[in-house]
Each structure stands twice: as structure tokens, then as C-alpha cells.
């Protein structure tokens, strides 16, 4: 089996327009959640979100590109540019033929759908822009990355709601580990902060009107975010041979299905995914220093996740750190695991553990070290990243310092 390392990372999200800005915000416990600035916000009862600020598509793309790139594709391309730029890789010949792109998203071009439904249903027009379909399709971002960077190997999009990015990165990991591909561009993106996207979530009554406070007894729901994070996963010997800067090693991955309920999470499904990732990596639970939690800030997720961690880690559960950065960047749904992997890289590379901000009140059902409110300096060798999706689909990644 081949070893897999990360040699590039890029992002745009509510905390910043690149990795250094995002790490700086995470290290300082800065909140990127604020009042939503979207059309018809006055008809929403949920009016906050982790929106990408100070962003103008025209600063980055020309008119023809914008006609084809939904906001989730734009975010993906910006993050991919940073990640591939950092890796220093150029794709041609055999490397291009065998390297691919696997990305996660849940809603795909939801903004494009929202805008065009308005055109035909609200405005009563009988004609839409010719590129609606290629713009809204879930694989648009993946395809544009492959076209821009000449990536001609295995490429597709994964949609498993809130676990999409982790499932995507897990696939990329396995392709390299098996020897199928030398390099994979992977991660995920989401841009659901449009009227229809927020309105649909409102219906479930699990959204907070004021803040995302994971693990805090007074938490009252999740807050949506948007953005993307993209990584370059590379076969270790390939990276070493060219003297690449290695950010971390990906050592394990597991996925499970609860097979139980369409919205309520199961402790057993989560625990099986966590222990499966450890087993896949050949790690003992005691080696894990930090877990980036799924930590949505809902009553259901947080207590189930803490119970699963307690089950898997036993006494070590009280020694490890677990935080939810959703408190800062919001829940990016299909893109969330990718942005959260940045907190894992920050822990391994910089020795800084991102905090769970907004933490106000102890909850006996979430009785773990959730790194409340302030980042912490700590040397950790192994970290996990949890993602547990609606529909009971779980995906956990294990990373190691290198």
C-alpha cells in the first residue's frame, strides 16, 4: 500500500479568502458568522450565516466564466488554485492521465437553481439562460477543476449531505493508497446561502437565530456557512522525490451507515466510523490527540457525537481535545469536512488547536475537553476529522504529523 500525504491546501470561507487568513481566525477564535446579506432575507426567520464577505466574482473571473460558474464552482476554483499552486505540481503526460479530482458538495449550483426558478415561477418568464444545466450540476466544480489543471484521471462528485467532503477525500485517499492515482485534487464546496437554501433548512426547525454554540448546554441549533476547501493529496514517494513541502499524512479512513433514521444520528454508526478509521490507520485510540468534531450545535448531534467518542476512546476520551470550528465558519454542509480539515492541519503543523467558540454553559451530556472559546497550543501527532450526515452516512478521516 502506498502512503498518502497532503502537499497543497486552499480555501475561501467566512473566516478568510485563503489558508493563512483562516488559520489566523481559527487561532484567534474569531467568528465569521453574521447577518445574512441575501435577496429576500426579510422573508426568512433565520437571518444569520457564515457568508463569504468582501467577495466579488468579477475580481476573479471574466464574464464568460461567470456565465458558467455558479458560486460553489467559483469558490472551488479559487481554493484549487491556491492548493495546486502551493503543491508546485504541473499536470502533463502520464501524471495528468492518472491524476484526478474528487469533490464533495450537497446542493451543487443551488444559487443558480434558486435564481432561475424565480425567473420562471415568480417573474413568469418562459426562457432561461442557456447554461443553467451545466452551471447547476453537482459535478460542475469538479469538471472545471479538471479542465483548468488538465487532470484526466478518476474524477467525480460525491453528494452525501454533511459528509460529502469527507467521503470525497476518503475516496481520493484510497485511490492513491491503492496505486490507482499518483495525485488527487480533493475537498469540497457549498454555496447554499440563498433564499431557497436557507428557507428549506428553516423548515426543519433545527437552525439557531443567534449563534452556533456546539457542546454548550444552551446551544439552540446550527448555523449555515458557505465556501470551499481543496487539497492536493499525493503519493508519499512522489512528493518526496520532488522535494515537496508535506503538510500532513493521511493515514486512515472509514465510512459507515446508521441504517436507522433519515435525520436522527446514531451513536453506534458514528462510533463504528471512528473506530474503523483508527483500525484502517493501524492506530491505537491513545495516539489520538485531537478530533475535529462534526459538532453542529444541535441537541441531537452533539450529545450523540460525545457519546460515540466516549465509547470508542474510553478513559482516553477525557485526555484528548475535541472542538467544533462550525462555531466560527458555520456549517458548510457538503463542503464542511474540507474546511474543517484545515483545523486538523493547523493542529498537526502549527501545534495550535482551534477552539469551540460561543461556549457558555457546561453540558453533562457533552463532558469532554471541547477547547472552549480560546485556541490552545499543544503538540499532537494524530488527529481525526468527523462527519456525520443526515441520512446516517458517516465518514471519518485520520491524519498524522510528518
Amino acid at each position: 500500500m502506498k502512503r498518502v500525504v497532503i502537499t497543497g491546501a486552499g480555501t475561501i470561507n467566512a473566516l478568510g479568502h485563503d489558508v493563512p487568513q483562516t488559520w489566523d481566525a481559527m487561532a484567534n477564535g474569531r467568528c465569521g458568522i453574521g447577518e445574512l446579506n441575501i435577496r429576500d432575507v426579510e422573508r426568512l426567520s433565520i437571518r444569520i450565516g457564515g457568508q463569504v464577505r468582501d467577495y466579488d466574482a468579477e475580481d476573479h473571473f471574466n464574464r464568460q466564466q461567470i456565465a458558467l460558474y455558479d458560486r460553489f464552482t467559483q469558490f472551488t476554483l479559487l481554493a484549487a488554485k491556491q492548493a495546486i499552486g502551493q503543491s508546485g505540481l504541473k499536470f502533463s503526460g502520464d501524471l495528468a492521465a492518472r491524476s484526478g479530482v474528487v469533490l464533495g458538495t450537497s446542493g451543487g449550483g443551488l444559487t443558480t437553481q434558486d435564481e432561475n426558478y424565480r425567473v420562471v415561477y415568480e417573474e413568469g418568464k418562459n426562457r432561461v439562460h442557456p447554461f443553467v444545466v451545466p452551471k447547476l450540476m453537482n459535478n460542475a466544480a469538479c469538471s472545471h477543476v479538471s479542465m483548468v489543471y488538465n487532470l484526466k484521471g478518476p474524477s467525480f462528485t460525491v453528494a452525501t449531505a454533511c459528509a460529502s467532503s469527507n467521503h470525497a477525500m476518503g475516496q481520493a485517499f484510497q485511490f492513491i493508497r491503492s496505486g490507482m492515482a499518483p495525485v488527487m485534487v480533493t475537498g469540497g464546496s457549498e454555496s447554499m446561502l440563498c433564499f431557497g437554501g436557507v428557507k428549506a433548512w428553516e423548515g426543519l426547525r433545527v437552525m439557531s437565530k443567534d449563534a452556533c454554540r456546539p457542546f454548550s448546554a444552551n446551544r439552540n441549533g446550527m448555523v449555515q456557512g458557505e465556501g470551499a476547501a481543496v487539497f492536493v493529496f499525493e503519493e508519499y514517494e512522489h512528493a518526496k522525490a520532488r522535494g515537496a513541502d508535506i503538510l500532513a499524512e493521511v493515514v486512515g479512513f472509514a465510512m459507515t451507515s446508521d441504517a436507522a433514521d433519515i435525520v436522527m444520528p446514531s451513536k453506534h454508526g458514528a462510533a463504528r466510523a471512528i473506530s474503523g478509521a483508527l483500525r484502517d490507520a493501524g492506530l491505537s485510540p491513545e495516539q489520538v490527540g485531537y478530533i475535529n468534531a462534526h459538532g453542529t450545535g444541535t441537541a441531537a448531534n452533539d450529545k450523540t457525537e460525545c457519546a460515540a467518542v466516549a465509547d470508542v476512546f474510553g478513559a482516553h476520551a477525557d485526555k484528548l481535545m475535541i472542538s467544533s470550528t462550525k462555531s466560527m465558519h458555520g456549517h458548510l454542509i457538503g463542503g464542511t469536512g474540507a474546511v474543517e480539515l484545515l483545523a486538523c492541519l493547523m493542529a498537526l503543523r502549527n501545534g495550535v488547536i482551534a477552539p469551540t467558540i460561543g461556549y457558555e454553559e457546561y453540558d453533562p451530556e457533552c463532558s469532554l475537553d471541547v477547547v472552549p472559546n480560546e485556541a490552545r497550543e499543544a503538540k499532537v501527532d494524530v488527529v481525526l476529522s468527523n462527519a456525520f450526515a443526515f441520512g446516517g452516512l458517516n465518514a471519518v478521516l485520520a491524519l498524522r504529523r510528518i
Binding site: G203, V206, S208, M264
Partner: protein
């Protein structure tokens, strides 16, 4: 005579629980009737649609909402209150 608030709420709850209206009594709790959290959210949606009201309810803190869901009678009282507050 048109349906009273009580009749409408009971009809909505019975429909959600897949029971006869006569099986839903004011003393029943949602648990008794086999209505889970997802069923509750659907009931509230149906109540909002039927009366054109906004029900203050967050699934994360069901017991802390102003909207009392401890029994069918409590829900009826809460809906009657919200309907009475509606501008005529």
C-alpha cells in the same frame, strides 16, 4: 358550524399519528400517540398552515419554547392563544 381550534388540532395530530380522531384525547401526550420529533415538526407545520400563524418552536430545545407540547390539551391551549393574538 365550522371546525373549532380544538377539533382542527386534534384532526392534525390524529392524521400524523395515523389514528382515529376519537383515539386522540386532550390528556394524550405525543409520546403516547407515537409521534416522534420529525412527526412533531410536521404537526407544527400543518398547524401553522391551517391557522396561518407562526408557532415559536425550535427542535433543539422543545421544552424551552414558549409553545407547550406536553399534552394535546397544552398544544390546543397554545394554538388558541396564538390564534387569539392574530390581528383580526
Amino acid at each position: 358550524m365550522s371546525e373549532t381550534v380544538k377539533d382542527t388540532v386534534i384532526r392534525i395530530i390524529a392524521e400524523q399519528a395515523v389514528l382515529d380522531v376519537s383515539d386522540v384525547t386532550p390528556e394524550s401526550t405525543l409520546d403516547d400517540l407515537g409521534i416522534d420529533s420529525l412527526g412533531l415538526v410536521e404537526c407544527i407545520f400543518a398547524i401553522e398552515e391551517a391557522f396561518d400563524i407562526q408557532v415559536p418552536f425550535n427542535a433543539n430545545e422543545p421544552t424551552e419554547s414558549d409553545f407547550d407540547i406536553s399534552s394535546v390539551a397544552a398544544i390546543i391551549r397554545a394554538v388558541e392563544g396564538l390564534v387569539a393574538e392574530q390581528p383580526a
